[in-house]
């Protein structure tokens, strides 16, 4: 029965047939663009140019394009006149399950949650389907990279930074071990209609969970100490994978919503000398001093979201990034939504900008900051000489909904801006228009032969 179902589904859910981009062979020059560098403190470059060569930005400036040392630009370069257009780093969708699930409704396509409560050894990048139809759609919304989060249990597993183009998972993976995901228990009792458990029972449950956290992390630390002293001791896959997290060299992404959860989680992680990053952050403004003191960043899980409580200001979710940023807290913005909606990541940033987050910071919250949190800010997330040529060319202000991505590059490779959806559009454009009609609003593959006349 299960086998049959799986077979049927596999045949129903089409895999993306797009061809991954080949490596960059010629330099690319984008000129006369408005360049949003997303560099901290740097301003936007107007009438800007940049040159990408061998996957890396080699020159950046304003006015006439010139090489890195002021020489004329390479003659064999592809030159793009981007007058009236904007350039930004490729967007990075943080705390997403993109690639781990095709549709939530079909279990067979869902690899988000491993069995059990503690599974730090489960690593997200391994299960990302490179041919997922969701990836090309996200790319068309400007999302070129993603910090993919496993879910489930308490210690869900290892988050991975991926790029959204490649033949295999190996090619997708940028940082397989970007940090470990921990889900903090509720610190306040749930109201009665969420649960039949009394406040006392819930409190007991919470203590049990926190005790289990302590036990697990104590055991992991003991293991690391022992095995460092004596490498011949048997390997424990779970604890071994936590090494970098335990010593603070990789972050612990802690999912925590309320101020109580955040306070509890941060104090716990700091006391263990780990490097926490809060994911969620509804209640973060109430404990901003704690976050600032310990330089704990927050990944806001969605700006286009309802306020949590009835009495919250109607715009409390919209203003959350601005409220945190104004208190000196580093903020990344994620969608907090199903991964199929990752293409709307920039709209979350735009809403944050409408409600008080400076525009540059709104863009940084989906570029520089997530790159920093994944430990790759030296290469990704900003536009500067020496950085990866992972960027977008947009036909308008990046924060406007009406703006479209016209071109995209990952490490200098020119990405196809097509998807299952564009193919469907092209197909049905054929149905409604004569096959000779040339007008296309989106890049489309070579015209298909005319379909047979419609059945009616």
């Amino acid at each position: 029965m299960i086998l049959t179902l799986t077979t049927v589904l596999a045949s129903v859910i089409a895999q993306s047939t797009l061809v991954p981009a080949p490596p960059q062979t010629r330099p690319i020059i984008i000129e006369h663009a408005t360049i949003h560098t997303a560099v901290a403190g740097a301003t936007t470059i107007s009438d800007g140019y940049l040159i990408i060569d061998a996957g890396t930005i080699v020159a950046l400036g304003s006015g006439e394009a010139r090489g890195a040392t002021g020489e004329p630009p390479p003659a064999d370069a592809v030159r793009i006149d981007a007058r009236g257009m904007h350039v930004t780093p490729g967007f990075i969708s943080a705390a997403t399950t993109l690639g781990l699930v095709e549709t939530l409704q079909v279990r067979a396509t869902d690899d988000r949650a491993e069995f059990g409560d503690f599974h730090p050894e489960a690593s997200a990048w391994l299960a990302v389907n490179p041919d997922s139809n969701l990836l090309p759609v996200a790319r068309m919304g400007g999302v070129l990279m993603a910090i993919v989060f496993p879910q489930g249990g308490s210690l869900s597993g290892e988050a991975s930074l991926i790029r959204l183009d490649g033949w295999t998972t190996d090619e997708l993976a940028v940082v397989p071990d970007a940090g470990t995901v921990l889900r903090w228990p509720a610190t306040e009792p749930a109201p009665r209609w969420f649960t039949s458990k009394s406040a006392d029972e819930q409190e007991k449950q919470r203590r049990t969970t926190l005790r289990a956290f302590d036990d697990f992390f104590d055991a992991a630390q003991a293991y690391v100490r022992a095995r460092t002293a004596d490498p011949s001791l048997p390997l424990d896959l779970r604890f071994d994978r936590l090494r970098d997290v335990l010593d603070g060299s990789r972050p612990l992404f802690i999912e925590a919503a309320s101020s109580g959860q955040i306070e509890s989680a941060v104090l716990w992680a700091i006391a263990r000398a780990m490097k926490p990053i809060i994911v969620g952050g509804d209640g973060a403004p109430a404990v901003a001093d704690l976050l600032r003191t310990h330089k704990v960043p927050v990944i806001v899980q969605g700006v286009l979201r309802l306020p949590r409580f009835d009495h919250d200001d109607y715009d409390s979710a919209y203003t959350l990034p601005a409220r945190l940023a104004s208190k000196g807290i580093t903020v990344a913005i994620a969608t907090g939504d199903e991964p199929s909606n990752d293409r709307n990541l920039v709209h979350h940033a735009a809403m944050a900008a409408a409600f008080g987050l400076p525009r540059d910071e709104a863009i940084a919250a989906i570029t520089r900051v997530p790159a920093q949190l994944a430990g790759v800010d030296a290469r990704y997330g900003t536009i500067a000489v020496g950085r990866s040529g992972t960027l977008l060319l947009l036909d308008g202000d990046p924060l406007e909904v009406t703006t479209n991505v016209q071109r995209a590059w990952i490490d200098g490779r020119t990405i196809e801006l097509r998807s299952h959806q564009t193919e469907l559009k092209a197909k049905y454009d054929q149905k409604y228009a004569p096959p000779t009609a040339p007008k296309r609003e989106v890049p489309a593959p070579a015209p298909l032969p005319a379909p047979p006349p419609a059945p009616r």
Partner: protein
């Protein structure tokens, strides 16, 4: 009140009738047929009782000092100043000095467990098809009120109670019962206390019917509030029709089948003719409003068992002019002791907490006829303290007394018998020492039909067994140290508390405590009392004092006299008699509530960029003049209105109010009545919740109008409701007049999800719809045929033919066939879309809109040919299999093929920024911004049949306007003001200005709550108040049984359940894993 009260007059005829039916003990009038032979002497006690020298409150506000009441055989013979009443020889005289005598209190709503009777009634021959329709159950048949409950009620002063069955929706008939103990006569008074109906079954009913005998799941209709209303309505129609049919059959029996047994419908006849009262169980203020609407629709003699939260809709409920029974079910505080814990307490919860005790006095002040009940209290013993809180909150003592006596007596139609102290009334009296329910007062005795029941103790035979003295007593001792003895007869304990010279105290419990009425004994450790060895004590009550004799181990005895010691028990922290602050209520009560309903304005919007959504397109630097709710002028340099307001709009944009063609915001209870494949009789209009904070949030995003749809669990769902978001105004003003009546249909995955019912495939969906349309056609034909009968045959003195039955389900479907109701059909795949088009073509009607319609672009030409509209998401996809082919160009592509298109939300979040949703028609469809905006303005207005009055900015149309800080298609623009029909419903500047005050009030109320009481029910922020996020369904219990872990995980993640009815799922009970 002068004159002689002693007039042993003839009792009114009605009373004779009552008397003759009640076997009040040995009244000679009643010995006979109903009484068994007497085994022994025939009793002949004359029950003459007189209470003298009491303060008698004959009716609320009317007192006689030093009065006498004379009772005989259970009835009041005389009442008046003591000197004027002649006491017959042989009467027992009771000293009433220091007592207040009031008419016996009446409990108007005591619910009795009727689960077994309801089950029997639902399975007997001729039972109604729906197990929750059992009006034939009668409280007369139920087990009597238990002696414990009778005792509890008497302690509170109640002498009589109207009892009702408590199971199901049509629960059955009530009866009025005396609260005395057997064997003194029959406890039930004649007549009916009315039918009792409810807006939903309880969890217990549900579980009983949830599984059949084989354990298979039986889906029991209704699961939603709107389904319950539909069932109420249909059943009342059926009962009317049956009565009419029987009347016809009685005249024309020949050739006609006799009516079959239908005890349930027959039981409702008296209610439908107004002869019997109908009591609605209104567990929320909105239920109360629904009760009023149904009572009006069917001409019922209705009354309401309220929720205690009527203050939330005070004027609307008072305007119903229906008697209301008010419980004292106040929310109690939970653990708000830390800032973290108090994070979730909403202003609505806190204000409701504060205002609850004022509910009764507010109702009375608003002109309502309100009675008190002990129903809905967790513990009946809380009643006095709750009453005290109500008194503190403004209730007067005479209002209180009326709500316990005259008002419920009138409600029950028994004012001639109960509720006042007067000659000829039943001798039901409640006697109190001190002011009624005051802290140190107590109700000492109640008289029920002329028999006294001591209420100082709750025991069944109060005078017999308990030690008569309780409390704290000082014992004089030589060593001057204070010694207090504490006697608790109920617990059978005796304790000594010693205070030493240094003020420290020590307590010692006595052992082997044996107490009887007037004497007792115990053993106490003498060492602990500064004596030697075990001391054996006896005590007795004699000569007005408590005397103790102690026997020491050496055989010596010593005597003490105990004197009452002053109480110095610490005041309980949880005593809630003080501290709930007095607050001014807002509309709605709580978060973002308004001080008053906002008024329509005469207003000029000057120099705006006008997005007209009309052929005029976008007009820069233009003025709009609004008067009486309408747009009266559009142009340049318009004159400012005299006495009106001018809104300067330079640099700003104005659009029509946005319209959401697919919303589930503010639907009270389940969004789906998912228990049947066809629920066309169900109406969302019955369950609009105007208090849902979601409305305010949507106003803040420029939304002014929403198409509230039933969910998509059924091929044929319920009727829609098109409303304007008139936040702060009564819900009756929300529906948009002139909107085309509509109904939700659904295709595809959702409708085949419920297991064990037809249909399970898209094939079955087609067949099912075809079959129902066929039935509707026949139904309409039958009604047409009847309508064309000769008038004489139809409505003459002797109609020869019964009218066809009114079937609200088929009637609704027939409206679709005749074009007066449009379908809004949840649909995804192209095959199912074509299927419905074919079906509609075949039956000759036009589909209103296809909703979601994510594959509609594949058959846009067919949709355009048929003439249906389309209402889709801008870009959602991949949330389930049937939407894997959704594309964001669909809206524009379909529009290009001639389909009238709109973008909708299906989400209380997305509905907050439909403007930027429409911008996606520019992004993907390359439409002009003006045309794109029409996807959320004039296009949905046309789809809903209100394009002639809203959706665009044109002279003569409703002044539904949104003022934006910039380009409305930009996410960087803010909605600054939202106007509906010339009334400003949202102003961001006002909202910002009000924030500090709102938060201050919230914090003050939290502090007040902390001072009043310790946490009672920590699991809820505030007990029993509408939670911060409304429960997803009334079937919370059921949902929790399968999804508790998922729910708790949502709470942990700080997620709002309302956002989790995912796109296109239409509130189907699905929660992210």
């Amino acid at each position: 009140m002068g004159g002689c009260f002693y007039t042993p007059s003839v009792r009114p005829r009605t009373l004779h009738a009552v008397l003759s039916l009640i076997a009040l003990a040995t009244s000679t009038a009643t010995t006979g047929a109903q009484s068994p032979p007497v085994n022994g002497m025939l009793p002949s006690d004359v029950r003459w009782d007189a209470i003298q020298h009491a303060t008698v409150v004959t009716s609320p506000g009317v007192e006689i000092e030093d009065a006498t009441i004379l009772m005989r055989d259970g009835w009041i013979e005389a009442v008046g100043p003591t000197g004027q009443i002649v006491i017959p020889t042989g009467a027992t005289i009771h000293d009433g000095r220091g007592k207040r005598v009031m008419a016996g209190f009446i409990e108007p709503a005591l619910l009795l467990n009727s689960a077994a009777h309801a089950h029997r009634a639902s399975t007997e021959a001729g039972a109604h098809w729906n197990a929750y329709v059992t009006p034939q159950v009668s409280a007369d048949d139920l087990a009597s009120i238990s002696s414990a409950v009778r005792g509890e009620l008497r302690q509170l002063g109640f002498t009589v109670a109207a009892t009702y069955p408590d199971a199901g929706i049509f629960r059955g008939r009530g009866s009025v019962q005396l609260l005395g103990d057997p064997p003194h006569g029959v406890q039930k008074l004649p007549g009916s206390a009315g039918q009792f109906v409810a807006f939903g079954r309880r969890a217990r009913d549900f579980q009983r019917n949830d599984d059949d005998e084989d354990g298979a799941r039986v889906v029991a209709y209704p699961n939603s509030i709107m389904g319950a209303v539909a069932l109420l309505r249909q059943t009342l129609h059926d009962a009317t029709w049956r009565a009419d049919s029987i009347a016809v059959w009685n005249v024309h029996p020949v050739g006609n089948d006799p009516p079959r047994a239908a005890p349930a419908l027959d039981a409702l006849t008296a209610a439908l003719t107004g002869r019997e009262r109908v009591l609605f169980d209104a567990s929320s203020p909105l239920d109360a409003l629904r009760s009023g609407a149904l009572a009006k629709e069917f001409g019922l003699n209705a009354s309401i068992l309220g929720s205690g939260k009527e203050f939330q809709h005070l004027s609307e409920i008072a305007a119903l002019r229906l008697p209301i029974i008010v419980p004292l079910d106040y929310p109690t505080t939970a653990n708000l002791s830390t800032a973290r814990l108090a994070e979730s307490a909403s202003l609505r919860q806190l204000m409701s907490w504060a205002a609850a005790p004022s509910n009764l006095s507010r109702l009375i002040a608003a002109g309502a006829s309100a009675s008190l009940t002990t129903a809905r209290l967790d513990q009946r013993s809380d009643f006095p303290s709750r009453v005290r809180e109500a008194l503190d909150a403004g209730l007067t003592e005479s209002q209180l007394l009326a709500s316990l006596t005259t008002t419920p007596a009138a409600l029950l139609g028994m004012s001639e018998t109960l509720g006042t102290i007067a000659v000829g009334r039943m001798a039901n009296l409640t006697i109190s020492e001190g002011p009624l329910f005051a802290k140190d007062s107590r109700i000492t005795v109640v008289w029920i039909a002329g028999r006294a029941y001591d209420t100082a103790t709750a025991g069944e035979t109060p005078f017999e067994s308990e030690f008569q003295v309780s409390g704290r007593f000082s014992i004089a001792r030589a060593d001057q140290h204070s010694c207090v003895m504490v006697i608790a007869p109920k617990k059978s304990t005796v304790e000594f508390v010693l205070t030493n010279a240094d003020g420290s105290t020590k307590s010692v419990s006595a052992e082997s405590v044996a107490l009887e009425k007037l004497r007792g004994g115990f053993l106490v450790d003498g060492g602990a009392l500064g004596l030697v060895g075990p001391i054996r004590c006896t005590m007795r009550i004699d000569l007005g004092a408590l005397r103790i004799e102690a026997l020491s181990p050496d055989g010596s005895t010593s005597q003490f006299v105990a004197t009452a010691a002053p109480a110095d028990e610490p005041k309980k922290v949880a005593d809630a008699t003080k501290g709930r602050p007095k607050i001014t209520l807002t509309q709605p009560v709580g978060d973002f509530g308004l001080a008053a309903v906002p008024a329509q304005e005469h207003v000029l919007f000057r120099d705006a960029t006008l997005w007209t959504s009309s052929p005029d397109g976008i007009r820069p630097h233009t003025d709009v003049l609004v008067k009486d709710g309408l747009i009266v002028q559009i142009g340049k340099a318009l004159a400012a209105p005299v006495g009106g307001r001018v809104v300067e709009c330079a640099g700003r944009h104005i659009t029509p109010g946005l319209i959401d063609c697919h919303s589930h915001t503010g639907i009270d209870g389940d969004v789906n009545e998912w228990t049947q494949a066809c629920t066309a009789e169900v109406r969302v209009n019955d369950v609009i919740d105007p208090d849902d904070v979601g409305w305010y949030r949507e106003l803040a995003g420029g939304l002014t109008c929403a198409n509230q749809l039933h969910g998509s669990a059924n091929p044929i769902g319920g009727q829609n409701s098109v409303v304007k978001l008139k936040w702060g105004s009564p819900v009756a003003e929300w529906p948009v007049a002139g909107a085309l009546p509509g109904i939700k249909f659904a295709l595809g995955e959702n409708v085949v999800r419920p297991k064990g019912r037809y249909p399970q495939t898209r094939m079955g969906v087609e067949a099912y719809m075809r079959d129902r349309f066929r039935a509707a056609r026949e139904y309409a034909a039958a009604h047409r045929a009847y309508a064309t009968l000769a008038a004489a045959a139809r409505v003459g003195a002797q109609p020869s033919e019964a009218a066809p039955r009114v079937d609200l389900e088929l009637q609704t479907l027939a409206e679709i066939l005749d074009g007066t109701r449009i379908i809004h059909c949840h649909s995804y795949r192209q095959d199912e879309i074509l299927m419905l088009i074919h079906l509609a073509d075949e039956f000759g009607f036009r589909i209103g809109t296809f909703q979601h319609i994510l594959e509609g672009y594949k058959v846009a030409d067919a949709i355009a040919r048929h003439g249906a509209g389309g209402s889709c998401f801008s870009d959602w996809w991949a949330y389930k299999m049937e939407v894997m082919d959704a594309i964001p160009w669909a809206g524009a592509m379909m529009q290009g093929q001639g389909v009238l298109m709109s973008f909708n939300s299906d989400s209380s979040e997305l509905a907050r920024h439909l403007n930027t949703e429409s911008a996606k028609a520019v992004k993907y469809g390359n439409l002009s911004p003006a045309r794109a905006l029409e996807f959320v303005t004039i296009n949905p207005a046309r789809q809903l049949g209100i394009g002639n009055r809203t959706g665009s900015i044109e002279v003569g149309k409703d002044a539904d306007l949104v003022l934006w800080s910039g380009d409305p298609l930009s996410p960087l623009s803010l909605c600054e003001q939202t106007w509906i029909e010339g009334t400003k419903r949202f102003d961001r500047a006002d909202d910002l200005a009000a924030r500090p005050g709102r938060e201050l009030l919230r914090q003050q109320l939290i502090v007040a709550a902390l001072q009043v009481g310790k946490p009672v029910d920590g699991a809820a922020p505030l007990k029993d108040e509408k939670p911060a996020i409304p429960p997803p369904t009334r079937l919370r219990e059921r949902m929790l049984s399968t999804r508790e872990d998922a729910y708790l995980d949502l709470w942990r993640r700080g997620l709002d359940l309302r956002t989790l009815s995912r796109a296109g799922v239409c509130g189907c009970e699905e929660v992210a894993r």
